[in-house]
């Protein structure tokens, strides 16, 4: 997807599926409302779909989507009555001037996919550590293995994750 700079009928579904989840999570990190996040992102994609012939992407699809969704979120926070409750808790100026990056959200999506490819035991240990927040001691106790074994599994998982993701330039810039 990195080298594509055009959103067309042919690649629209692929683009949507690749970015919808990370973009929703990105928006939700600001407004903490999943329904609102989906609406904002879906609305952005609708607009893109309707105007896809007229869109000129000068950087990358990722950057274009990021800008579109972020602007839509900013407008929504400023004007949408539905998001009024966030108007006071979110500094729109901060959002405009110092926005969060989208890359961590894209990376999280890919990490989750890559974790699915780990062997079951390694996946279990890694998930308990990183997704459930258990300490290594707690995992060791839960799985009746040594703490060192837990550490080895998590370390090995990190190595394998990096191996799977390292060539994805879009994730690491």
């Amino acid at each position: 997807m990195k080298n594509e700079t055009e959103i067309t009928s042919a690649n629209f579904e692929e683009v949507f599926k690749a970015y919808f989840g990370p973009l929703c999570n990105y928006v939700n990190s600001y407004i903490n409302n999943w329904e609102g996040s989906r609406e904002i992102v879906q609305g952005a994609f609708m607009k893109i779909w309707e105007n896809k012939e007229d869109i000129t992407i000068t950087s990358s699809i990722k950057n274009y989507l990021y800008s579109t969704v972020r602007n839509r979120m900013i407008d929504g926070i400023r004007t949408d009555k539905k998001l009024e409750e966030y108007r006071n808790s979110i500094s729109v100026d901060a959002l405009v001037e110092n926005p969060k990056d989208l890359d961590p959200y894209l990376l999280r999506e890919e990490i989750l996919k890559a974790v699915d490819n780990l062997k079951p035991k390694m996946k279990k240990i890694f998930s308990l550590s990183k997704f459930e927040g258990l300490t290594y001691s707690e995992i060791a106790s839960f799985m009746n293995i040594s703490k060192r074994a837990v550490e080895d599994n998590v370390a090995r998982s990190l190595f394998l994750l990096r191996e799977e993701l390292k060539d994805n330039e879009e994730l690491f810039g």
């Binding site: 919808f20 879906q42 959200y105 990190l158 990096r162 993701l165």
Partner: protein
């Protein structure tokens, strides 16, 4: 590097370069050495030549002992000595933010060795940063999200081949002018007649005598063999379906209904469609081409720029209700049996004749009690997310309302508005509404 910056001025008839070389090596006989010595002293340039040859010889001697190295290999060797590499455990501490000073320095030193190493560390740091927030990350099924998105669109985005089996779905709109773009929700069958091609070949001797006849004959053949317009059939097999015909007419079909229509209405003289079941029509104005709906081969409805609904009814074979403009409804079997209706009249057809139906204005609030929140949930799902609402906190979570949720969602909206439970405004897509807490006209 030794460079010879002047031309040699050796008189080859007396002394040659080999003599000079051997002279420098002390390998000449006395007589030969004297000869060279005299030659050298005869001209300062000769001495310069001799010195140049000596320098070349010296460099050649050095090169004989020169050794080349594979600098890439040497560099790797150097790197391994400078930093022995990181273990998985080092990386784990980096990602977990538990590395002590010694480990951090080890990592830093390793990263500093090369840009590749630095890149590896950056990637692990990025992964670590992503993992820090991953417990708050919600994984959204992209296929489900895309399906919901597709249904919310007023037009279908992609070209797919016609499906012969219906799939469960929510209402979508299908532009009828592009038969290859089909609703993923309903069943659209595009039937193309076989194209008959023919050629006329006339014997040469007839060319001049029958030229006019040939032109007429070819013209007739071309007319006969015009590609016949295609028709399409939309079946609302499991859900209501929306469709926009090529002339802009909008049709909503209830679940279980079937509509056959001309795909390219510009190529027909009249706009004729066939409906089986229940459908609502908003006819696009086109005075030169009347729009006629034949409903279950019982009645026909001819309209010009009007809106109407044709449906089944327990007491009639068919009922027609006009929402806008006027129509003429007639019996298919006997066209003279007809009725003209204007908005907002209704007529039922039975026993071969039409009867006007006079609706009472009273609205019947039937159904079961539901909380407003449950009704909102239902509205959003039943409309395939065409209905959106303000945050639920705007509504009284304990309030209940009597409503039949089997009604079409737009009817539910109307009823709840009349009951002053909610207000709704149309959005910029067919069947789309935004629901808010009830706002009276005076507010």
């Amino acid at each position: 590097m030794i460079t010879i910056e002047h031309r040699l001025h050796i008189d080859m008839s007396k002394v040659n370069e080999i003599d000079l070389l051997r002279y420098s090596q002390g390998k000449l006989s006395s007589e030969e050495a004297n000869k060279v010595s005299k030659w050298l002293s005869s001209d300062p340039k000769h001495q310069q030549d001799y010195e140049a040859i000596q320098r070349i010889q010296s460099a050649a001697t050095d090169l004989a002992g020169h050794r080349t190295f594979d600098v890439s290999t040497e560099w790797l060797t150097f790197q391994s000595k400078v930093s022995p590499g990181l273990s998985d455990y080092d990386v784990l501490q980096l990602v977990d933010h538990t590395a002590d000073y010694k480990t951090k320095k080890k990592i830093s030193d390793w990263a500093a060795v090369s840009s590749d190493n630095a890149s590896v560390i950056d990637q692990y740091k990025s992964i670590g940063g992503a993992l820090d927030g991953i417990r708050d990350y919600k994984r959204i099924d992209p296929s489900e999200a895309f399906e919901a998105f597709s249904k919310a669109l007023t037009t279908v985005p992609f070209s797919k081949s016609p499906k012969n089996t219906p799939t469960p779905a929510s209402p979508t709109k299908v532009p009828a002018s592009t038969p290859s773009q089909l609703s993923p929700t309903g069943q659209v069958v595009t039937m193309k007649p076989e194209r008959e091609e023919s050629r006329s070949v006339f014997p040469l001797w007839m060319r001049y005598a029958a030229a006019a006849c040939a032109v007429l004959l070819v013209g007739a053949l071309v007319w006969i063999n015009q590609p016949k317009p295609t028709t399409a059939t939309l079946i609302a097999s499991t859900q209501d379906e929306f469709i926009t015909l090529s002339d802009g007419t909008e049709v909503r079909m209830n679940k279980g209904s079937e509509l056959t229509y001309f795909v390219d209405v510009d190529r027909v003289n009249s706009r004729d469609v066939k409906l089986s079941g229940t459908g609502s029509f908003e006819i696009a104005p086109m005075e030169e081409k009347p729009f006629t709906v034949t409903a279950d081969n019982l009645i026909g409805i001819t309209a010009l720029g009007t809106g109407f609904r044709v449906e089944d009814h327990p007491d009639f074979d068919k009922v027609v209700t006009i929402t806008e403009g006027s129509i003429r409804a007639f019996s298919v079997e006997e066209e003279d049996v007809s009725i003209v209706l204007s908005a907002i009249e209704s007529a039922g057809f039975r026993d071969g004749g039409f009867e006007r139906i006079i609706e009472e204005e009273e609205v019947i609030y039937d159904g079961e009690p539901h909380t407003v929140i449950d009704v909102l949930d239902h509205l959003m799902k039943a409309s395939s997310w065409r209905v959106i609402s303000s945050p639920y906190t705007d509504f009284d979570g304990d309030a209940t309302v009597m409503i039949d949720l089997d009604r079409p969602y737009e009817e539910i909206l109307t009823i709840l508005n009349e009951k002053q439970v909610l207000s709704f405004t149309e959005l910029n897509c067919t069947g789309c509404y935004k629901v808010t807490k009830f706002v009276g006209e005076d507010e």
